[in-house]
């Protein structure tokens, strides 16, 4: 067991840190620490420009294989990249769904044609993606997808009908990857297909969802006879669930350490505030702050274990199984602390009619963390069933 990075890794750390220092300036200066959770609606245009700036420096898709336009970085250096990115306060990535989800799926399951068509735009930071999984009737029960895909022989295209929900960045995106039912008589995870759908077409309508924050980062997406080329189904009709679940392994990975660096930035703000307003002298607040601090440290140690431990075969270890539940709960607790530490003044808005302070926004937004991507309750089911071998609920 050893904790240090190699000199080569440290050299890489300097390289990315100095690139960020030099480039996160001028017009991009205003993006520092922006666009994270709860702030994702801010500066969309500027953040798209930033994607391309990153691409110029070859800093998108750093973990992808070189043959697909990535840097093929080893795990340690990917970790360093995400850490330094967050440490520098570089903005929330509008390209993260393409880079982290769509791209890896296409690399793993897509055809050569799909790879040629879609990967370069993701690497260049010019084409953005969104994820079409959840539906009004398919939340925790994700396999209960009702959106239909019918192959129209005369057009030679798939015709998509249905509704997706909680689609972040849909209004900014060029493409959406969608699971839809290719076999209308099928149930649950059978008979699904995985489609790559162009957003800019008459059959696709995007409607923002107004959240408890009063802002909108998520959307509803309606498909009314939307079209999808015959070549744009990943895998075969019926493979959709397998392809979609193949992504889950990518969702918990090296970016977790970058996420934690962003968490650290948030916690630092709360700590600074507590020192300033005297909350740091309150014994109860001291306990809560220390608790959040040490649980964040443990989150990091746990990730280091997770990354060292992963056999690279996608098999999830126990420390990986707990990760979502752990970080979502931590973040929710941080949100509460962020407001509590301010006492009554924490209730005062930034401005009328309903402009929130950054910390109020955090306090509200973190409530979504324990819901999306598998609620805490679903996470507990997964942990109990996969991690502890406890039986599933009886069907009824």
């Amino acid at each position: 067991m050893k904790l240090s990075f190699s000199p080569e890794d440290e050299k890489f750390r300097e390289e990315i840190a100095s690139w960020l220092k030099a480039n996160l300036s001028g017009e991009f200066e205003q993006l520092k620490f922006r666009g994270g959770p709860g702030d994702e609606h801010m500066f969309p245009e500027e953040r798209k420009q930033w994607e391309q700036k990153l691409a110029e420096g070859k800093w998108t898709c750093v973990g992808w294989p070189k043959e697909h336009g990535g840097r093929g970085l080893p795990i340690e250096q990917q970790v360093i990249f995400f850490e330094e990115y967050a440490r520098a306060g570089a903005p929330g990535r509008v390209g993260h769904i393409g880079e982290g989800l769509a791209g890896p799926t296409i690399i793993a399951f897509g055809s050569d044609k799909q790879k040629q068509k879609y990967l370069p735009g993701i690497v260049a930071g010019t084409e953005l993606w969104c994820q079409g999984y959840s539906e009004p009737g398919a939340g925790s029960d994700l396999a209960n997808v009702k959106t239909k895909a019918r192959f129209d022989e005369s057009k030679g295209k798939w015709i998509i009908n249905g509704q997706k929900v909680w689609t972040s960045l849909a209004h900014e995106s060029d493409y959406c990857f969608v699971i839809a039912r290719t076999d209308p008589d099928s149930k649950a995870h059978k008979g699904l297909g995985f489609f790559l759908i162009k957003m800019d077409q008459p059959g696709v309508t995007v409607r923002p969802i107004e959240q408890i924050t009063g802002t909108s980062e998520f959307n509803e997406v309606f498909f009314d006879d939307a079209e999808c080329d015959a070549d744009d189904i990943v895998g075969e009709p019926g493979d959709g669930w397998k392809v979609a679940m193949g992504l889950l392994g990518y969702e918990r990975g090296v970016s977790t350490l970058g996420q934690q660096m962003a968490f650290k930035n948030e916690l630092d703000q709360v700590v600074a505030l507590a020192k300033e307003n005297g909350a740091a002298n309150d014994p109860v607040m001291r306990q809560r702050i220390a608790d959040l601090y040490l649980r964040l440290k443990i989150m990091r140690f746990n990730s280091m274990r997770m990354l060292s431990d992963s056999a690279g075969d996608g098999s999830l270890q126990k420390e990986a199984l707990i990760y979502k539940l752990y970080w979502a709960t931590w973040h929710r607790d941080l949100g509460e602390l962020a407001v509590d530490v301010q006492g009554e003044t924490g209730q005062v808005l930034e401005a009328e009619p309903y402009e929130l302070t950054r910390l109020q926004s955090l306090y509200l937004f973190v409530r979504s963390d324990t819901i999306y991507g598998g609620t805490n309750e679903i996470q507990r089911n997964i942990i109990a069933e996969r991690g502890l071998g406890m039986p599933k609920e009886p069907k009824w």
């Binding site: 904790l3 740091a280 608790d291 601090y293 040490l294 440290k297 060292s308 539940l325 089911n381």
Partner: protein
């Protein structure tokens, strides 16, 4: 970065597990815990002779195995899991660490060799009868008379204090206060003026004693390190012991999870195993989360402890790593104990089932070397003051 056990470390862990599964059964623990010594001397001698665990991190030059703290904590985790009743924690985590950090070469040669040979057990007596983890809690005093030292006072909560052959005693110079004036002494238990009595405690699996010191006369050769300046060293010893204790807490937490899950799969109510109820599954999932997070905290702390003993760059993090581990593991162990008892239902409340042994050990361990709130405050002090 390679934050997993090496093959050798994994082997040490596995060996400990299979050995303890055989010798530290529920029956063996229950036999040992009612002995006044609190352990079976024959088993301890077997551990010393066959396993050589007492020598695990003693350097080879003194006859030890020369392994690191990662190996030590890997074993402690298993000992916690099987509730091993033996003077290992006292001798190795308190005694050997004190000697490694505070003793001169001559003293090390004498005492460490005896420990390696299984001839000597040791423990640390530092706080007064009211317990505590701070310098202010050291209440035994010493005064210098010519070349000699004379110790007076009473030490409380001395782990295995009734049986240890060597008492490493922290005492303060008469009239001193706070962190100054503290010295460490190696006091053979049969020294004139030393008397010991059992301190009956809730957790029967780890024995505590009170040690009275009445005009205990010691020579310069009994003094460990420079007179009056022992606090920083003792502070580090306590942090090292804290990390080992946290590892033990992880083992206990794991065992509680395993036994609760196993029981829930067998126990049928409403025509289904109770393990199929989400109310039970969610408790178990939270228990697993706590165990895994606690384990991550301990692995990190173990790496820090390793570097502290070997002079690596992480040594500066000892205090924080120990506090993070102890704060989290204390809560994890006790919460898991409570949940395990709840999942076991009625039988969890019986003397026959082992849950109560862990439930009691969890609370006892929580309060040893500073409870969770104490360690969170120590962290708060660093980040807020």
């Amino acid at each position: 970065m390679d934050f997993v056990f090496t093959e050798e470390q994994q082997m040490i862990r596995d060996t400990a597990e299979s050995f303890l599964a055989e010798v530290s059964t529920s029956e063996a623990v229950r036999k040992a815990m009612v002995l006044s010594a609190g352990f079976d001397e024959a088993l301890w001698q077997k551990i010393c002779a066959d396993m050589y665990w007492q020598a695990i991190h003693i350097p080879e030059e003194f006859g030890g195995m020369g392994l690191g703290y990662v190996e030590l904590t890997a074993m402690m985790e298993q000992m916690g899991r099987y509730l091993l009743c033996a003077p290992f924690y006292s001798t190795v985590c308190l005694g050997v660490n004190t000697l490694l950090l505070a003793a001169n070469e001559e003293q090390k040669a004498e005492y460490l060799a005896a420990i390696c040979e299984g001839r000597l057990t040791a423990t640390l007596a530092y706080c007064g009868v009211r317990g505590g983890r701070n310098a202010e809690d050291i209440s035994a005093t010493y005064s210098q008379q010519g070349d000699d030292f004379v110790l007076e006072g009473e030490c409380g909560f001395v782990v295995d204090g009734l049986t240890a052959g060597l008492l490493l005693v922290a005492a303060r110079e008469k009239g001193s206060s706070g962190e100054s004036g503290i010295s460490l002494f190696a006091v053979p238990a049969d020294t004139a003026g030393v008397s010991r009595s059992n301190l009956p405690v809730l957790d029967q699996t780890r024995k505590m004693a009170s040690v009275r010191l009445e005009s205990v006369k010691l020579a310069q050769s009994n003094l460990l390190g420079a007179a009056g300046q022992a606090w920083p060293v003792l502070d580090n010893v306590l942090d090292l012991a804290t990390i080992a204790l946290a590892a033990e807490q992880v083992g206990g937490s794991q065992q509680l999870l395993d036994s609760a899950v196993e029981y829930s799969k067998e126990r049928v109510q409403f025509n289904r195993p109770i393990a199929s109820f989400q109310a039970i599954k969610h408790k178990a999932a939270d228990m697993m989360l706590r165990v895994e997070a606690a384990r991550s905290a301990v692995y990190y702390a173990a790496c820090v402890a390793d570097e502290t003993l070997q002079g690596g760059e992480l040594a500066g993090e000892l205090k924080e790593a120990a506090s993070i581990a102890k704060a989290y593991c204390s809560d994890a162990y006790f919460k898991n104990a409570g949940e395990a008892m709840q999942i076991h239902g009625g039988v969890g409340f019986t003397w026959e089932y082992d849950v109560h042994l862990y439930f009691k050990r969890a609370k006892a361990s929580e309060h040893m070397l500073g409870n969770a709130a104490y360690h969170r405050e120590r962290v708060a002090h660093v980040i807020l003051d």
